[in-house]
């Protein structure tokens, strides 16, 4: 595999994290061991998500042509684009960082940055967790918060579209 600056950046990042772990080990071993226990639990939870992301990547690369995606989720995608980003964000599961590889692929296929931001913002709206937030904060608060967050996700998407013209 060709080693690009970008692919090496990930390895540099991992090296820095491992150095932080090594330093922490000398400061407080318990923190490192407890951290690693948490990491193992996290890995057990995210492996199925990782498989799901791989399947989605294969399906997108196989069936979806860049011009097709650009038409529905690129510049000029309009209200339909925002609705797709919002619904996909709400329905997506797992930790936010697991979705970065797939979103990176979508960026390359011409999906608008604002829609990617809206997708990420709407990951905060989780139907499965609504009963819990209702239990703690009440139904009225939960409904208003959910509606406001969905609306604000579009505002954030517009901000990103205005300021970020980065093409990866």
């Amino acid at each position: 595999m060709k080693r690009t600056e970008k692919s090496m950046a990930g390895w540099y990042f991992l090296t820095v994290v491992l150095v932080i772990y090594a330093i922490s080990f000398f400061i407080n071993k318990d923190v490192v061991f407890n951290g690693l226990k948490y990491v193992i639990k996290l890995f057990e939870k995210i492996i199925p998500i990782f498989v799901l992301i791989y399947v989605l990547l294969v399906l997108i690369n196989y069936f979806v042509k860049p011009k097709h995606l650009a038409k529905h989720l690129g510049e000029g995608s309009g209200v339909k684009g925002w609705l797709i980003a919002i619904v996909a964000g709400i329905l997506s599961s797992g930790p936010i960082y697991m979705w970065y590889p797939l979103l990176n692929e979508l960026q390359k296929h011409g999906v608008k940055n604002g829609l990617i931001a809206a997708f990420l913002y709407n990951r905060a709206v989780k139907p499965a967790l609504l009963p819990l937030i209702i239990y703690y904060f009440g139904l009225k608060f939960t409904v208003v918060l959910t509606v406001v967050m969905i609306g604000v996700s579009v505002i954030q998407g517009k901000i990103i579209d205005k300021f970020v013209v980065e093409v990866k």
Binding site: M1, L18, G35, L42, N104, N113, L132, V148, I155
Partner: protein, 141 residues
């Protein structure tokens, strides 16, 4: 399905995920260390009991912490019991799920530095805006 094309696509997708692997592993390790190093109940002490300052503090704490949103609801409930304003608690919970300081390097590597900067900075301030609007509307209805 064309077998040759499918094989090619499967390899391409695997390479794409492989390139992201060190970033994802790094973020997961950082989250683990941050969770073990800082007991979460200490964060309640950072609030000042001034609703305006606290909404910024709430958004700041929510930005730094990472993990399951369920934890943010439980912590938010505890903060409310400590007398911290609903605006501050709401901005804390919204920032928890929309801003990611721990995963910032991973996002920047995979989605672009400029995108990540603007997304996280705007999400920090929008968490406060969401909190103010939500609490205002709830108190009106």
């Amino acid at each position: 399905m064309e077998n040759a094309k499918l094989k090619e696509v499967m390899i391409k997708s695997a390479k794409s995920l492989y390139n992201s692997l060190p970033v994802l592993v790094g973020v997961i390790l950082l989250i683990g260390l941050a969770n073990a190093a800082i007991p979460k109940h200490y964060y309640g002490m950072l609030f000042s009991k001034n609703p305006i300052i606290d909404s910024f503090i709430g958004s700041g704490i929510g930005s730094v912490l990472a993990g399951n949103p369920v934890t943010s609801y439980i912590l938010g409930g505890e903060f409310l019991k400590q007398g911290i304003s609903l605006v501050a608690v709401t901005s804390f919970m919204v920032a928890w799920v929309t801003v990611g300081v721990v995963q910032y390097p991973a996002e920047a590597i995979l989605l672009g530095k400029k995108f990540t900067f603007y997304r996280n900075v705007s999400a920090f301030f929008l968490a406060i805006v969401v909190a103010i609007i939500t609490v205002a509307v709830v108190s009106l209805i």
